[in-house]
């Protein structure tokens, strides 16, 4: 077995006297991709990351058994994670007045909170205000890619040309054909696992070895196939065959840790930005990374109105610094990039940088989730337990609504993520009534016999769904925080009802007894797929960026994260974020060479 154990590159001294070709804010999927593309084109790049550079393998400890951990994976006493009730009954800032030493988002409540306690932000230091929103943030090198859910899907022209299809919102300024070559590049550079299904609404990737399905999942797949529907193995942003060009990542050995914990892989078979993008970019000699750098303003030249760099605080010492760049690239996440633009007010840009349209922070969208179904596969009750969870994910049922049909209650669609089979902890234990020998036997006999799936649906972008700066509340660094003005609408609620009803029909048609349905829509933000706050478009009056994620107002300013997305699709965004960033940075490098930026 050849496990990859190559140490990260040595930290460099950061020279803030020089003017870099580009300064990137953020080190997640978008920032990492920008660094990869620009350094491979020979540009000198400085990357600022607000969080620490963690010894990530020590944090994740993927193979540690629960009984080898003093609290069976739980974080130390004094830590608290927010619950659904807290998110709904209370108003942000949720950690205000909390008696706990540390307060984390709901992700800290998943099994294994000790493994993410240094990855997730402490809500006490990072408040926000306004409407209810479950905002999950990770401040460390690589950001949320260290623990992302791995579902790596492409969008199609059903998404890019959604307005043409149903009349709502705006089309993207690009078509699938524009992005397809870049999706291919992302697939081949980072590795993706899946099965070709030839679906126009969910284009195939350049797949490596797919995960296998377990018995219950095959049963559902076969039943759906008869109805002309598709259940496909989880399309995971995971290298299952290995990547010859990357010495920092191992191939997947089906350990299953990424799906058992809040995510993460300490052999980096799962894509994460540091090992997938940043360390190789550092090896070119063109990338300098400065962690602990909390950016709070994009600096603008008084005479030209162009971006000239980024003002930041050292996150630990709180000393002020400036990084100088010929180009500034924001990749701080959908909400943090919008916040930075709004914070960067100047006489030339009184509403915030790149915000002559007034659309920065608006058209905020994401995925609605919560509704789902659980079924019992009677054939598996009492059968010997098999290895079912040694893989990066279960299955995906792609969108099927409003493709050829027109639903009366809602537009757009949703897909289901799900899984079946035996797992380390028998989650059905608390739904098994009673106690004693019969209870114990029932738990044992039913382990692995359930199948569950939950839907992720497209939330429509609306101008009136937005974030702005709170006039009073500041974070632990004294920086004004975001205020949310964001609620689901009837379209999402109607869609959520359909998610439950249709999920039930699917299981029943497969001869699987439905034993549980969840019709509860989780708090806004729960999907961690926030998008749209600086959307692309051809019209500078109604959009913030052009098709290359370049500011309409400021030619040397780019925003390459999810904020640029024009609509949310129902497909998970990470792979699209990276394909777009690759395309835009390719364009940027061309123009930079010609002196046009």
């Amino acid at each position: 077995m050849t496990l990859v154990k190559v140490a990260p590159p040595i930290e460099q001294d950061v020279d803030l006297t020089q003017t870099y070709d580009a300064v990137i804010v953020g080190s997640g999927a978008a920032g990492g991709m920008a660094a990869h593309v620009l350094t491979s084109r020979g540009m000198k790049v400085l990357m600022l990351e607000a969080g620490k550079k963690l010894d990530i393998n020590q944090e994740l400890r993927s193979m540690q058994w629960p009984y080898d951990h003093p609290r069976r994976g739980d974080a130390p006493p004094g830590s608290h994670h927010l619950s659904f009730n807290e998110y709904t009954i209370r108003k942000p800032p949720y950690a205000k007045g909390a008696a706990f030493k540390h307060v984390y988002s709901y992700v800290g409540g998943w099994g294994g909170s000790d493994y993410v306690k240094n990855i997730l932000v402490d809500e006490k230091d990072h408040p926000y205000t306004g409407s209810n929103y479950a905002w999950v943030r990770a401040r460390c090198l690589g950001g949320k890619t260290n623990i992302w859910g791995r579902l790596a899907l492409r969008l199609s022209d059903y998404d890019f040309k959604a307005k043409t299809h149903d009349g709502y919102g705006e089309d993207w300024p690009i078509a699938y054909a524009d992005l397809e070559p870049y999706y291919d590049k992302v697939d081949l550079y980072l590795g993706i696992s899946g099965v070709k299904e030839n679906l126009p609404h969910l284009p195939d990737s350049q797949f490596q070895r797919p995960s296998k399905l377990n018995w219950g999942e095959v049963k559902l797949r076969e039943s759906l196939k008869k109805a002309g529907q598709v259940l496909t193995p989880y399309r995971a942003g995971v290298t299952t065959d290995g990547l010859k060009h990357n010495k920092y990542r191992s191939k997947c050995y089906g350990r299953g840790a990424c799906d058992r914990r809040p995510g993460g892989c300490d052999i980096h078979a799962v894509f994460d930005s540091p090992t997938g993008l940043i360390y190789p970019a550092m090896d070119t000699g063109h990338l300098t990374v400065r962690p602990n750098s909390t950016a709070h303003e994009v600096l603008v030249d008084k005479n030209t109105g162009r971006a000239r760099g980024v003002a930041f605080l050292d996150s630990v010492t709180r000393k002020s610094y400036e990084a100088k760049g010929k180009v500034v690239i924001l990749a701080a996440s959908t909400l943090e990039s919008a916040r930075l633009l709004l914070l960067s007010r100047s006489p030339q840009h009184p509403n915030g940088l790149g915000n002559s349209s007034g659309h920065v922070g608006h058209n905020f969208c994401e995925h609605v989730m919560g509704p789902g179904v659980t079924g019992l596969i009677k054939e598996l009750v009492g059968k010997p337990h098999t290895l079912d969870d040694g893989r990066p994910g279960g299955f995906y049922i792609p969108r099927f609504r409003n493709l050829k049909d027109r639903q009366p209650g809602f537009i757009r669609g949703y897909g289901y993520e799900g899984n079946s089979g035996h797992s380390m902890f028998p989650a059905h234990v608390m739904d098994t009534p009673g106690f004693g020998g019969q209870f114990k036997r029932s738990v044992r006999d039913h382990s692995g016999a359930f199948i569950s799936m939950g839907a992720f649906g497209e939330v429509l972008p609306r101008y009136e769904s937005y974030v702005d700066l709170d006039p009073e509340t500041k974070d632990a660094w004294g920086i004004p925080v975001l205020r949310f003005h964001y609620h689901f609408s009837d379209n999402e609620r109607k869609m959520a009802e359909d998610m439950v009803a249709t999920g039930r029909e699917m299981l029943e048609a497969a001869g699987i007894e439905v034993v549980g349905t969840d019709d509860k829509v989780l708090t806004e933000g729960w999907s961690i797929h926030e998008l749209g706050t600086a959307r692309m478009g051809n019209d500078p009056k109604t959009s913030v960026l052009n098709q290359f994620q370049q500011s309409h107002d400021v030619r040397n300013l780019f925003v390459v994260d999810g904020s640029s997305h024009v609509s949310a699709s129902c497909q998970n965004p990470t792979w699209t974020i990276m394909a777009l960033a690759w395309r835009s940075c390719d364009h940027l490098a061309d123009e930079f060479r010609k002196g046009n930026v």
Binding site: M1, M63, W65, P66, Y67, P70, R72, G73, P76, P77, F100, K101, V195, P210, S211, K212, L213, N214, W215, V218, K219, E222, T232, P233, Y253, G254, R255, G256, A257, R260, E379, L380, K383, P384, H385, T386, L387, D388, D389, G390, R391, H422, S423, M424, F425, P426, V429, M430, P433, G434, F435, G436, G437, F439, K440, R441, V443, R444, S447, A510
Partner: protein, 186 residues
């Protein structure tokens, strides 16, 4: 569903128990790390000796040893819960356990005219049966405590070596080489 694959049953249940049990439980027992006797007279880190003995007995009643696998006592579930209580910074949670255990004794006095640990095995089961009766919609103090007790017992047991390997016969958290488990989608 004729085209669904057959469930693999090549490896018998007995083979698996023998293999896993030999690997795990023998060193556990030989090392003296686990006592199968009820704890008595020994205080926990948080609980008093009496409370600790009561909790130990309750956990074993909820998940008892059977012919398949050892129970909560062998898995040291009471020690796990006591340890969590001892290091907790939440006095409300600690108080909930203290009063919950008192409520169990209170119910036993009401039903059996003696404290729980002095009652006969059948009488103890009767107390737990009463506590569990309101599981779906708990109303009394003992009924409310039952959910807490069962939840932490399950958590302690099914995250233990015995729970994961002997009872659940979990096969994962391993490096798979060559053939991966499961069925191809096609």
């Amino acid at each position: 569903m004729t085209d669904a694959p057959k469930h693999p049953e090549s490896l018998s249940r007995r083979d698996m128990i023998a293999a896993t049990a030999a690997a795990l439980v023998t060193p556990l027992l030989q090392g003296g790390a686990v006592s199968l006797q009820p704890v008595a007279g020994v205080p926990g880190k948080f609980l008093t000796a009496a409370e600790y003995a009561l909790l130990d007995e309750l956990t074993e009643l909820i998940i008892p040893a059977d012919d398949h696998s050892p129970g909560a006592r062998a898995a040291a579930v009471a020690a796990y819960i006591d340890g969590r209580l001892a290091e907790s910074l939440e006095p409300d949670w600690q108080a909930k356990w203290r009063s919950g255990l008192q409520a169990v004794d209170g119910l036993s006095r009401e039903l059996n005219a003696k404290p729980f640990l002095e009652a006969t095995p059948d009488q103890r089961v009767a107390v737990l049966t009463r506590m569990a009766a309101g599981e779906a919609d708990p109303k009394t103090a003992p009924e409310r405590f039952f959910g807490e007790l069962k939840g932490w017992t399950a958590r302690g047991y099914y995250t233990s070596k015995i729970g994961i390997h002997l009872d659940q016969e979990y096969k994962g958290n391993v490096y798979q080489r060559g053939e991966f488990a499961g069925y191809d989608a096609k």
